[in-house]
Symmetry: C2
Subunit: 554 residues, 2 copies
């Protein structure tokens, strides 16, 4: 093999739950042939990324090496694994491999953005192999919270890598693939060099539970209601939607889906034949004729998203439906950390309508799609790799996963985004650190996280803004006009209108300023900024953002 | 009693956990003599209240009736019960009654804001009574997470009210008062008309646990560490700080407090004699000479607050201390809903330093200060009131508490902020709804929540801002100058600088505009706004906030 090496380089997903993008390479240093596993997004929040649509891993490193990229493999159809594809389509022109359901999701996304879908290739599962330069890759079906999730079996000249993707060990999932122990044993039997492994639930000490355990409890819950029953979960959790719908049907309710994402996902799942025997659903316009106690709504918005069906039902009417006292609303979902405030807003609004809200706290109506701690240990044992590299987690998850490995005597390494790990030998080591930041989709433009755009927004949000227009009239003698606009600031100072005070102070300062100050627009601006800062601080106790425009006329 | 009535009116705290302020009144309708219980704040967040310092209940209703206000009673020293006092000091000039520790906290706050403390009156606990118009009020000691918490026993011409304040049933607290069953039985023995009751933990099905159960687990945790041990909790949780300090002492560590709030609270507790036998602490400057394995830091910032000691230690150095691989950081606290993101930021930063972070998930290192569901039921039984009115909770808590009462056959009523309840009879009813919004402290100014200030900030944060200065020069012929400033927007459009494109488009539109448009500044502004909106939408896909300043010169 000469001086060839096998490298692993997470660009996203190994410091956050989201924006997954993992590079593997094999070849001479700085000339490896590359594959990319997943290309997902993360979601913004008001605190750190106001006004942003989506967050991407910074793909610059890979874009610069695009000619060495053999293929992109997508493990499953969740946004944090596929969402980035249409946005980096032109820059990474490699073929994209995915199983049928995932492939359909990707193609729909590409089409929505006006891209061709010719690069998308639909593949059969393991033992079918795809050749990609020095790599041979198979999609090994696993159970997760979306159909056709797969681990990747990546055969390399150094040995076999298993990249788990997102998975749980479910021997009886409602929809999609089971975790097939026999297949995994077969894959592991010839020896596995490295297991690159999901870390999401490493802190969950509970025993992992099967999706199939939910239906009887949910059925019993619905049967206890004599009013409208509404349930929400992730739109992509086809198994859960089926569980909910079947439970509703069993107790004699008509099922109606609300929310574009959910309808689209169900259609895709039926079209690609991963969803069978889904109960008949009725259209919203027909649902209005059904007595409330015979109706069940399945709706989007389990994370409190403001525009989703749940939030709209909580605020008022949605598609003609209005919730009333005694109706039941089930969150068949877990609140993702950081979304608590939005979810609680929806719950309290529903509570104000007299709706009975039931959440995940009992543990009866939701199971996770990720392997819990004990299942991770099982997986380590089953695969028995030389190396485990934790991925898919915040730093705390990765560190805990490394600790778990060390406790069990397994070689492991903590590698966050941007850490290039040489895994050619039995002991992995860090070969390089590359810049691995984040990009933002803002409107339709991609900007860098450090461009200052978001920083400017956050500063305006915290401090408010004063915009001042100054016109310096030079003849017959020097005079000034001043216009002040306030946004996000109290209009009144201690006694008078803040605008009036500011104009007065600014003009007084300008009139008494020295000649050389007034000769340059920059020094006029500095003077105005100084006056505004001082005045607003005195009047309101705030330090606003300030923008000054100066014009001189004769 | 003629047509006199007894009313209960929450102004804050009965739709949120925070900004507690409850009015009781007795007398002829619209002429009742009033008392206020608590005057607290709520805390802002970036999502709904960016740049705001504090949130207050709207006190307008009470300010207008200030001459009927007999007294203010403060149940305990938490910010959500005392934080509003200095800000409404002048407008509500009634005497403020509190027990010594709370009274000291209030006086310190008033002094910080330059107010006199002459209205603050320190009182003895039950059975001592304070007369306030038609009311006779006693402070009945209870256990909670700050010393000297009290329920109020309010004797009225109609009967006895117990206003619980915040409480838990702890028969063995480490510091401060126990929940004294015998005293409560005595208070309840003559019959209680209404129990106005804490709802915070109504969803907690676990059995409430005593503060004293923690020390052995914490001691054992510290003894397993051979490195620096850091623990955080609420600065006001004197009992927990004592537990932590004693546990550290027992295993031979020197104790050092970091964070102004914590030092202040401990001093206040020692001065007012509620804290005794607190271990000797060392100064930060002396702590540097102690070997790490013999040192324990107690620090502020359990909620991930950016400026607190925890967050600063997580980011880098704080007062010369720097955490290292193998150090242990204990969150002896619960994350308040909504603070998850900030707390996780701190945890991940600590994790990146290699620090072992231990949180509340095991249940071994924290107990709540509020009565759990089963304890609430105990309390209902013990007091056996005619009416229970839930308070101190979001809508979902209040509703659940009402349900709990109904299940147990207890008369109850859901009254959110602004609901005036007539509790003169055995069946409460809603007598009126008053406007009960929120006020914000912004800088040093109090503004209304609906004033539009915060809305303007949020819009700038989401959309970015374009500020345009136009100068219309009328002679010798009409021409225009245009200056553009962008804040929080990408500087580049599809091909060129966005500023350049905007200036070009604006001037072109103005030059081709009809005469009557150019005659008025307002119509020029409208035209400019239209052009900016269209151009930025085309170039970036954003709808920015726009401010235009127009000047004409001859």
């Amino acid at each position: 093999m000469g001086n060839r090496r096998l490298i692993y380089l997470p660009l996203g997903g190994a410091r956050e739950v989201g924006m997954n993008a993992y590079v593997y390479g094999y070849g001479e240093p700085d000339n490896e042939r590359l594959i990319l596993v997943d290309l997902g997004v993360a979601f913004p929040n008001m605190e750190t990324t106001p006004g942003i649509e989506l967050i991407f891993p910074d793909m610059t490193w890979l874009e610069k090496r695009a000619e060495r990229l053999e293929a992109i493999f997508i493990t499953h159809g969740h946004e944090d694994h596929v969402g980035g594809i249409p946005h980096y389509y032109g820059d990474l022109s490699a073929p994209i491999f995915a199983r049928p359901f995932t492939s359909r999701i990707i193609s729909r996304k590409l089409s929505e953005y006006g891209h061709s879908i010719e690069n998308v290739q639909t593949v059969l599962p393991w033992p079918k192999q795809i050749e990609a330069g020095p790599f041979k890759v198979s999609f090994l079906p696993v159970s997760h919270s979306i159909p056709e999730s797969s681990s990747l079996v990546i055969n390399t000249p150094v040995g076999r890598i298993i990249h788990t993707g997102d998975l749980k060990i479910d021997l009886n999932p409602v929809v999609g693939d089971i975790f097939d122990n026999a297949n995994w044993r077969r894959v592991a039997s010839k020896g596995v060099h490295a297991l690159v492994c999901d870390s999401t639930n490493v802190f969950s000490n509970r025993f992992g539970r099967s999706e199939s355990e939910l239906i009887s409890e949910i059925e019993s819950l619905i049967s206890r209601s004599n009013n409208l029953f509404v349930a929400t979960t992730f739109a992509s959790n086809i198994a859960r939607i089926k569980t909910l719908a079947c439970a509703g049907k069993r107790v004699g309710r008509s099922i109606c889906l609300l929310g574009r994402a959910m309808k689209q996902m169900i259609e895709t799942a039926i079209d690609t034949d991963v969803l069978r025997d889904f109960p008949e659903v009725i259209r919203p316009e027909d649902a209005h004729n059904i007595p409330r106690e015979n109706l069940m709504l399945l709706v989007t918005g389990s994370q409190g998203e403001r525009r989703a069906a749940s939030a709209q039902l909580a605020r008022g009417k949605y598609m003609g439906f209005e919730l009333k006292k005694g109706d039941v609303f089930l969150f068949s979902s877990k609140t993702i950390p950081g979304n608590e405030r939005g979810v609680l807003r929806v719950i309290n609004q529903l509570s104000e309508k007299g709706v009975d809200v039931i959440d995940d706290s009992s543990g009866l109506y939701h199971v996770s799609g990720h392997a819990n701690r004990s299942d991770l240990e099982k997986l380590h044992k089953l695969v028995d790799p030389k190396i485990v590299i934790p991925m898919h987690g915040e730093h705390r998850h990765l560190q805990e996963h490394v600790k778990l490995c060390e406790q069990n005597g397994i070689q492991s390494l903590l590698a966050v985004d941007g850490t290039m790990v040489d895994i050619s030998k039995n002991k992995p080591f860090i070969a390089d650190h590359i810049e691995a930041g984040r990009d933002y989709l803002d409107g339709r433009v991609i900007i860098g996280a450090l461009d200052g755009v978001v920083r400017g927004r956050i500063r305006m949000a915290l401090n408010g803004l004063v915009a001042i227009g100054i016109v310096q009239v030079k003849k017959p003698q020097i005079s000034f006009r001043c216009d002040v606009t306030l946004i996000g600031l109290c209009e009144f100072g201690k006694e008078n209108s803040l605008k009036d005070i500011l104009c007065e102070e600014i003009i007084a300062s300008l009139m008494s300023a020295k000649h050389h100050v007034l000769n340059k627009h920059e020094s006029i601006k500095d003077l105005v900024r100084h006056v505004v800062r001082k005045t607003v601080s005195f009047e309101l106790g705030k330090s606003p953002e300030i923008t000054v425009i100066v014009n001189s006329v004769c």
